[in-house]
């Protein structure tokens, strides 16, 4: 389709310098090439494949606990086969139900949507789209992956220990998470959870530092900040968020570890458990601590974390939409500034998760203000995406489908955020299924869709110029899109009825008990969506090895730099000099040219005949 020959506009300064890293001559064995690789593209693959495997586990867990919620009276022999003692007689043990919920949340938020999404695409796209040969520190980049890997291994081990994994929720609030006597998951399982999270923080920091340093310092000639693709802007602010908020989570974890193992009382006070007063090993009464302190520290990371999850998806969607509508992103500057505003405000709203923790109501109202203010930049982004489609020329590639799905989900979930951000209403909705519906739609599903969009779009750059099967992708999209709404939309109704989240069974309460049909419906939808993901998984792994080979350098008609690299870019990305950049990446349908790659200078443009089409739109 692309009528422009990429090479016309590629200024490579034909003089042959030898100053670029010539890693092509290096002897690479299997280990240095695929395992301990320092090539950002391989590291991106490692993050992606690891993330996909974790996603299968995390979503499978949600199916297991949805079985319990949908059919509380039924017994499922398969559960006993899978889980053994945790599901005697085919019925899930409540303790293990909470362990599954906790692992589901932790895995999905941190391993899939932070490492799997941001890790994959920051690594892949930052050097490729800004025109760099690799990250600022490829070695740190490799460490970042391996710390993530270790975090994963530790979490995986915790699934198999006798007392079960952590079961205090993904937020791990003390005292529940601090007292091994309070629940069986708070023993060794929680210790492993903390160890795993600490490793994960290190991984995120190493990654984030690298991303920011690379973006600010290693752009190619002509690539000013305002010529960066929106993906890069999004990764940039994601990394800033991570670098500034993850250390605080680490502090929270360290204090918790001390409370658990050293007998301190940062978070604990006046506790009577199992028939006795809590004392430390020296026999002193534990007092003077505050569980609320943990919540402040946790949510100081926790809220930015939801933006760490969603911003990369926003960047991917903006880029994919413009490319496939062959129309510039509407309001590029507004898009950049709104990401910036979201980043800044994202640090100022953490306590909206704590309205009902007994904190000062005046503090609560300040947090309300900032919380609802975040709706403004978010609204700007939504309107800009919609305007990007207006009078566009939309080609429904699989990535485009997921991008449109993303916008729909982001709207649906974002609007209920306005409800929850209002503390007067949050009294009713806090810790009910309304919250579950809200954050799954706006964060979990939307970010998942952003990730799918990214995978379908950049698959050829990730895996040696192979493409995924589009028909499978469409089927995958429709089942997942309709299915996600079927799972999570009805949860609003449960929330409206006041049904609390993190309930193993609803039958103990009259007010929560009247929704058997609805819960079955949700569970069926969840199972269907779960199996539909295999449409993706099979397509993914099949295409890595046997997918259709990309025929054009630039299959989607994109303007950005990554498509100027060879079909299978080596370590160093460009053969010869890195191309120079002359324009922003969204010159679509301008002056009769459907696409104008960033590498096209004004002079080149004169040589390219315009497409003779009437721009009636």
């Amino acid at each position: 389709m692309a009528s422009t020959d990429i090479n016309v506009g590629t200024h490579t300064h034909d003089d042959h310098h030898h100053d670029h890293h010539d890693d092509h001559h290096e002897e690479l064995n299997f280990f240095t090439k695929y395992v301990f690789s320092q090539d950002h593209k391989i590291i991106a693959r490692q993050f992606l494949v690891t993330g996909v495997l974790w996603a299968v586990i995390g979503v499978a867990f949600s199916v297991l606990f949805r079985l319990q919620l949908g059919w509380p009276d039924e017994s499922f022999p398969i559960l006993e086969t899978l889980l053994g003692g945790w599901a005697e007689g085919g019925k899930l043990d409540p303790e293990f139900y909470y362990a599954l919920v906790t692992m589901h949340g932790t895995i999905m938020v941190f391993f899939v949507l932070t490492a799997g999404l941001s890790g994959t695409f920051s690594n892949l796209l930052i050097p490729l789209q800004i025109g760099a040969r690799d990250m600022a520190s490829p070695f740190m980049n490799m460490l970042s992956y391996w710390f993530f890997f270790i975090a994963g291994v530790i979490m995986l081990i915790s699934l198999f220990i006798q007392t079960g994994p952590a079961s205090g929720g993904w937020t791990a609030y003390p005292p529940l998470s601090a007292l091994p006597t309070a629940s069986s998951g708070s023993g060794l399982g929680m210790t492993l959870w903390l160890a795993s999270m600490s490793m994960f923080v290190v991984s995120s920091l190493l990654g984030g530092l690298n991303y920011v340093a690379t973006i600010l310092n290693m752009r190619t000639k002509g690539m000013t900040m305002m010529r960066l693709p929106l993906t890069i802007w999004a990764f940039f602010f994601t990394a800033v968020l991570g670098v500034l908020s993850f250390p605080v989570l680490l502090s929270a974890c360290i204090l918790l570890i001390f409370d658990r193992h050293m007998g301190t009382s940062f978070y604990l006070s006046d506790i009577w458990i199992q028939g006795e007063l809590l004392t430390n090993s020296a026999g002193e009464i534990i007092e003077g601590g505050s569980p609320i302190l943990y919540q402040h520290l946790f949510w100081f990371l926790g809220h930015p974390e939801v933006y760490i999850v969603i911003l990369p998806a926003m960047g991917i969607v903006s880029h994919v939409m413009a490319t496939n509508a062959k129309k510039p992103v509407f309001g590029y500057h507004a898009m950049v500034y709104s990401i910036m505003a979201i980043t800044v405000l994202g640090f100022l709203v953490w306590a909206h998760h704590m309205f009902l923790s007994g904190m000062n109501p005046f503090a609560g109202s300040v947090f309300t203000l900032f919380t609802l203010l975040i709706a403004v930049p978010s609204a700007v982004k939504v309107f800009n995406w919609i305007t990007t489609l207006w009078k566009g020329n939309i080609n429904f590639t699989p990535a485009m489908m997921f991008s449109i799905g993303f916008v729909s989900l982001f709207i649906s979930g974002g609007l209920t955020g306005i409800v929850l951000g209002n503390p007067a209403l949050d009294i009713g909705y806090h810790d009910t299924y309304y919250v579950i519906a809200h954050f799954h739609i706006v964060m979990a599903m939307a970010a998942g869709f952003g990730m799918f969009a990214g995978i379908y779009h950049w698959f050829p750059k990730l895996f040696n110029g192979r493409m995924m099967n589009a028909n499978m992708a469409y089927l995958h999209f429709w089942v997942t899109f309709i299915g996600s709404y079927c799972i999570f939309w009805p949860m609003h109704y449960l929330g409206e009825a006041g049904v609390p989240r993190r309930y193993f069974s609803f039958s103990e309460f009259d007010f929560a008990n009247g929704f058997a049909d609805l819960n079955i419906f949700i569970s069926v939808a969840a199972i269907v969506v779960f199996f539909a993901q295999f449409l993706f998984i099979i397509n993914f792994f099949y295409s890595i090895f046997a997918g259709k080979k990309m025929e054009k350098l630039n299959p989607w008609g994109s303007n950005s730099l990554e498509w100027t690299t060879p079909i299978v870019p080596g370590h160093g990305n460009w053969v010869g000099k890195i191309p120079e950049v002359f324009r922003w990446p969204y010159d679509f349908s301008k002056d009769g040219h459907e696409i104008t790659p960033q590498t096209t200078s004004e002079k080149d443009l004169e040589d390219i005949p315009a497409v003779k089409r009437i721009p009636t739109r």
């Binding site: 600022a136 690379t214 690539m223 009382s265 430390n280 003077g288 505050s290």
Partner: protein, 195 residues
């Protein structure tokens, strides 16, 4: 690195500065937890042991040694450079010993890790700081050992045209100064928040 049109500062240096920012966030988290907890009342006040004043002086001396060493390196005075590094490292060790002494003194006056959070915080925050400092000592040791290795004279001449030849040293020194300043901040913080 000549390829990068926009590099004004070496990316590794930049990454280090960012990393320092993230360490600052960690300590900001800890010290604000301290303040929040203190404001909640039920707080046992005590006087911070004098040893910590001495360790503050030692860490300043150590930073001065570092400055000396890096200056010598740039002037080509290798032996002074090595001496300076050695001094930096030695003062680092002295600081570590003094911190341990400080903790002992705290225990002697009845402020223990497991008592009131006011004490726990002091142990914890100074402990985490010390962990960062020990990391710094490790880096300095590596730099020191590298400085002992004899280089091929030809290579050495070639090196002189490389603007990044002091990069490792500069990174180490930036980190070291940072850890020092961080301690001075923490010391002042504790000083004004105890008593």
């Amino acid at each position: 690195m000549a390829e990068y049109y926009y590099s004004k500062i070496h990316p590794k240096k930049f990454a280090l500065w960012l990393g320092l920012g993230s360490i600052i966030m960690m300590f900001a988290g800890l010290t604000s937890a301290y303040i929040v907890r203190q404001a909640a009342g039920d707080w046992v006040f005590y006087k911070i042991p004098e040893v910590f004043t001495y360790s503050t002086i030692v860490i300043v001396l150590s930073s001065l040694m570092m400055i000396l060493s890096i200056r010598a390196a740039k002037q080509g005075n290798k032996s002074l450079h090595r001496l300076g590094l050695l001094g930096t490292i030695l003062f680092g060790f002295v600081f570590t010993l003094l911190q341990f002494r400080g903790w002992d003194q705290l225990t002697e006056i009845g402020v223990r890790l497991t008592g009131n959070p006011s004490g726990s915080f002091l142990y914890l925050i100074s402990g985490i700081h010390l962990a960062h400092l020990l990391g710094g000592i490790l880096v300095l040791l590596i730099v020191f050992i590298k400085s002992l290795i004899k280089k091929d004279p030809v290579k050495e001449i070639l090196e002189t045209s490389n603007p990044d030849r002091f990069l490792g040293l500069e990174l180490a020194s930036t980190y070291w100064h940072f850890v020092g300043v961080l301690w001075i901040y923490l010391f002042c913080f504790f000083y004004y928040n105890t008593i």
